[in-house]
């Protein structure tokens, strides 16, 4: 799938080289959100001393192994920034006073430095936290849990700052004149939701097929479903907050971003996004029994991953084509590459590592978890 995606990507590069850069940005930010979300949930588990998620923590760790892969994806994009980002072109910057003011922050060397810096910080925490967690399998040493709690407590505020900087650089600066102070939170809401959906797919499928070494109960499923439900609502809350303030204020420098998205075929995409990302998960997961139903959970998790892809598409693509929504070979290859990278990374990481943190002192309580 990965190879097919890459081939298609190369093919569409020859059709339209600018277009494929936008697709690259989509794949990059999509995978970044899923991988980073995995590490976020791992650290939340440590900080909150949650026990219910301990048996499935490895899955979140595998998902967060996407973080080092991001370097590979970022480097080719560094060479193609001019195709997607207006502020890299001197001619445009010189004629736009707003861009001229932003130039000390928004310039290519600073952008590359920030991206590498942020990725390095994430990778550092990923390596430290996951290494401690995997060592515990052999030593069962409780001090490792305590160390991870401290690391996680340090990571969460850093995560908040870095994900904001990252989303501003890669997504918000696609429309460099525009700004929204809630944008980092908006990206975070998709991050938390999509990584939880990815983990739910793996956990529930493995457990239902009997590949999971321990038996998880419906009560564990309920918590996964509850978090999916909560973050689908959170996304809608944040997305609507952003939209309503811009709509109500009606200031030209803010509406410039919304305007292409509520006209023409982008309006249809916006409506579909709202239905996919909020309405369907809301009603699909609202009842108690739905949150415990494995088939329903896996389906809605795939659905949410698709909705998150539409979300990223909706953020990125209007810059490339403000008049009408475009969907071509590039997008197909983007989807294939994203899915391929997740599966390949997961398969490589899961080899030779216990699927359950057998040395974790919280494991027994986690398995006995009841609502």
């Amino acid at each position: 799938m990965l190879i097919a995606g890459l081939l298609l990507g190369v093919l569409s590069y020859f059709i339209s080289s600018n277009h494929i850069v936008f697709d690259g940005v989509m794949v990059f930010t999509y995978l970044a959100s899923i991988g980073l979300g995995g590490l976020f949930w791992v650290s939340v588990e440590y900080v909150a001393s949650a026990v219910w998620s301990t048996p499935m923590r490895r899955v979140f760790e595998f998902i967060s192994s996407l973080i080092p892969v991001l370097f590979l994806l970022a480097v080719p994009l560094f060479f193609a920034l001019r195709a997607a980002y207006e502020w890299t072109r001197d001619g445009i910057v010189k004629t736009d006073p707003a861009l001229l003011m932003k130039a000390p922050y928004l310039n290519v060397p600073a952008f590359i430095f920030r991206t590498l810096f942020v990725l390095a910080i994430w990778s550092l925490f990923y390596v430290l936290i996951v290494r401690n967690s995997q060592r515990q399998d052999f030593s069962s040493d409780q001090i490792l849990t305590r160390r991870n709690v401290k690391l996680s407590a340090a990571f969460i505020p850093i995560f908040g700052l870095t994900i904001t900087a990252f989303s501003i650089d890669w997504l918000m600066s696609l429309a460099p004149d525009w700004y929204s102070t809630i944008f980092g939170v908006y990206y975070f809401s998709g991050t938390a939701l999509s990584s939880m959906a990815a983990a739910t797919i793996f956990v529930v499928t493995l457990n239902e097929k009997g590949y999971f070494p321990v038996k998880l109960t419906r009560d564990h499923y309920y918590n996964l479903g509850g978090l999916l439900f909560a973050f689908a609502n959170f996304w809608a809350y944040i997305a609507f907050s952003q939209f309503m303030l811009i709509w109500y204020g009606n200031l030209p420098e803010e509406t410039a971003w919304i305007a292409p998205r509520i006209h023409g075929s982008w309006l249809a995409i916006s409506v579909v996004l709202f239905l996919m990302h909020f309405i369907v998960p809301f009603f699909a997961l609202i009842t108690r029994s739905a949150k415990m139903n494995p088939g329903r959970l896996v389906f809605i998790s795939f659905w949410i991953l698709a909705a998150h892809a539409v979300d990223i598409y909706w953020i990125v693509m209007p810059t490339y084509s403000p008049d009408k929504a475009v969907f071509g070979l590039g997008e197909v290859s983007a989807l294939l590459i994203a899915a391929g990278v997740i599966i390949v990374t997961f398969a490589i990481k899961a080899r030779g590592v216990n699927l359950v943190p057998i040395g974790d002192p919280k494991l027994k309580r986690g398995l006995e978890f009841h609502l």
Partner: protein, 377 residues
């Protein structure tokens, strides 16, 4: 004494695992009318007791939806139908504006009705008495023990079997709970006339006190000190002035804002010419205003170029050209006087249409026209 009725058999256990096991056994034994009493919520008790899903969720959903719909209807009716009001240039039915209030009202209705639903469904309000009240059993399960009670109303109920069974399950103490039927009568204490009377009395006193505070006490001294100021109101009497009038005539020579009088009458052209100078500088803005007003007010008769070529096709006598030597040499005050007061009884006064500053701007424009017609090569 023993005309009391048996309510049920209650057993106390000393740890949560035992009561969980007992609840499971009782539920599997086919009993329906029983309940478990613990000092804190026990995980897994729902499954052990084979409880069905609570109905409170439905209450919450329905009343939340009622909140959503009523909020939308209320805002639509008040702002779009009953008293249409444009706010901030938005449509009369501005849905995005209404979403926050709709959300709030949905949450409010949902949460309040959840609490009310809990009180009614689980606590059986307005019933305010229960056979287990004031029993040793209830005292213990609200501090350190875990209890289970099977009601006598259950079809499978048999006192001896159940007592033996509880003992086997490890109960610490077993108690038969009796109650007096008259305490649990249909006529609840809450409907007692005395109780209702007391409620009405409290309502009257508190609302009366609130009314009195807000409408009377707050308007007494010393709370009104900020309202009472030494001042005079127009068209009233005042002891402050000897003549008793609050209003005073303005000081001699007072000029109202924007009402500067014009000092020269129509036969004082010489004085007007010598005393007045143009106070404006010929900036771009002044010239633009002058051109606009000249084209509006002057050009119909004087022509766009000031040649006296009227557009009125003889309906009104054509004025002379503005480019004559006399007029080119005439001081600015001459034009001002003419615009303000009219000329020779033919040109009317434009004082009401054109403000003083605009008149001076027009004069600058006329000067520009004159220069443009006399370019020295």
């Amino acid at each position: 004494m023993r005309d009391d009725r048996l309510y049920g058999i209650a057993a106390l256990f000393d740890n949560p695992d035992k009561v969980l096991l007992a609840a499971k056994e009782v539920a599997e034994g086919g009993y329906k009318k029983f309940d478990v009493y613990t000092p804190y919520p026990l995980h897994g008790m729902d499954n052990a007791m084979k409880l069905k899903q609570s109905k409170v969720g439905i209450v919450t959903l329905i009343s939340g939806m009622i909140g959503v719909v009523s909020a939308l209807l209320f805002m639509w009716w008040t702002n779009s139908v009953d008293y249409p009001l444009v706010i901030g240039g938005k449509p009369l039915f501005a849905l995005p504006n209404y979403i926050p209030i709709t959300f709030e009202l949905g949450v409010l209705f949902g949460s309040v009705s959840t609490v009310i639903g809990l009180l009614i469904i689980f606590l059986n309000l307005p019933r305010n008495s229960h056979p287990l009240h004031d029993t040793n059993f209830m005292k213990r399960v609200s501090s350190d023990k875990f209890g289970i009670c099977i009601e006598a109303a259950d079809p499978l109920f048999d006192a001896n079997t159940i007592s033996n069974w509880f003992r086997k399950l490890g109960a610490e103490s077993i108690e038969e709970i009796y109650y007096r039927p008259e305490y649990i009568s249909l006529r609840q204490a809450i409907f007692d006339p005395k109780y209702i009377g007391a409620i009405i009395l409290v309502a009257l006193i508190s609302s009366g006190a609130t009314y009195f505070t807000l409408n009377e006490i707050l308007f007494m001294r010393p709370w009104t000190s900020l309202n009472e100021q030494d001042k005079v109101l127009p068209e009233t009497r005042s002891k402050f002035y000897a003549d008793g009038f609050a209003m005073r005539p303005p000081v001699e020579g007072t000029v109202a804002r924007g009402q500067l009088p014009y000092f020269f009458s129509s036969n004082e052209m010489k004085a007007a010419e010598s005393y007045m100078v143009n106070p404006l500088l010929p900036t771009k803005r002044v010239m633009e205003i002058g051109q606009r007003d000249y084209n509006t007010y002057c050009s119909p008769c004087h022509g766009y170029q000031g040649n006296g070529d009227s557009r009125l096709r003889g309906q009104f006598p054509n004025p002379p050209t503005l480019h004559s030597d006399t007029l080119r040499k005439a001081p600015d005050g001459h034009f001002y006087q003419v615009i303000t007061d009219g000329f020779m009884g033919i040109m009317p006064s434009y004082a009401r249409q054109i403000s003083p500053d605009e008149r001076w701007a027009i004069i600058w424009y006329i000067r520009a026209l004159q220069k443009s017609h006399n370019v020295k090569g």
